[in-house]
Amino acid sequence: MNANPLVILFYLAALIAIVASIKVVTRNNTVHALLYLVISLVAVAVCFYLMGAPFAAGLEVIVYAGAILVLFVFAIMLFGLRQDETRLAPKNTGFSVWLGPCVLALCLLAELVYVLQHDGIQAQLSATVVDSKQVGILLYGPYLLAVEIASFLLLAGLIAGFHFAKPREQGGDL
């Protein structure tokens, strides 16, 4: 197979993304997990770029890694959560806890792969870049309603976040 360096790069990034995601799930240290999540996201962004979606890649890094996860860091700093203290509870240690969910997830994966195989997806990703202009035209054309709804969602998130996080006079209930 005539290995194109960009294709190899894609697989590399995918591998990094998977490994980093596994680390996210298994780490004890919150910040380490978060850093792995950043790495995973950046790797996925690289994948996006290589798949011909540079705009999405940029947004992935700017919004996801650069804003949403910073929020996480911020929250962790506020909580002072250095370690996952819940792991100290006796129940949640050892291999057995991971076994069931992993089997479940593998079943899920197997099923999905089977479906994909079964449908015989032969399509190849086209190398053509879908640039931001096309995205923009689509967003503010046929998807205008979705944009509006998303903006409402964000507004709702803003209000909810403000409401929950504002200090209460006397032990108000959640």
């Binding site: 998977i18 997990a33 996801y64 992993c102 997806i121 990703l125």
Partner: protein, 102 residues
């Protein structure tokens, strides 16, 4: 130039989804659950972008942007809730925070 089969992209997405999924189920810490959710959301994004790239349509990216919006709102509210929980119960262990049981 050799291009990437859509199949592989979808398998990548499925794998990421599965990993996030295991995280949601296994982790007791709400913060980690939230992070695992992010991994899952991201996986769906991969699938959308892959499909969009295959048909050279921008729809995939549009969907990804919507997912991004969703994630932003979700994290904002989720973290605010976590802060409240932490202040009130001094723990983020969802097994302890089970007062909404039937």
């Amino acid at each position: 130039m050799t291009t990437i089969p859509l199949m592989h992209v979808l398998i990548l997405a499925s794998t990421l989804f599965g990993i996030g999924f295991v995280g949601v189920i296994v982790r007791k810490n709400a913060l980690f659950m939230l992070m695992s959710l992010e991994v899952m959301l991201n996986a769906t994004g991969v699938a959308f972008i892959g499909a969009g790239a295959t048909w050279q349509q921008a729809d995939g990216q549009v969907m990804f942007i919507l997912i991004l919006t969703l994630a932003a709102a979700e994290v904002a509210v989720g973290l605010a809730l976590l802060i409240c929980l932490q202040n009130k119960h001094q723990t983020l262990d969802v097994d302890v925070l089970s007062r909404l049981k039937g």
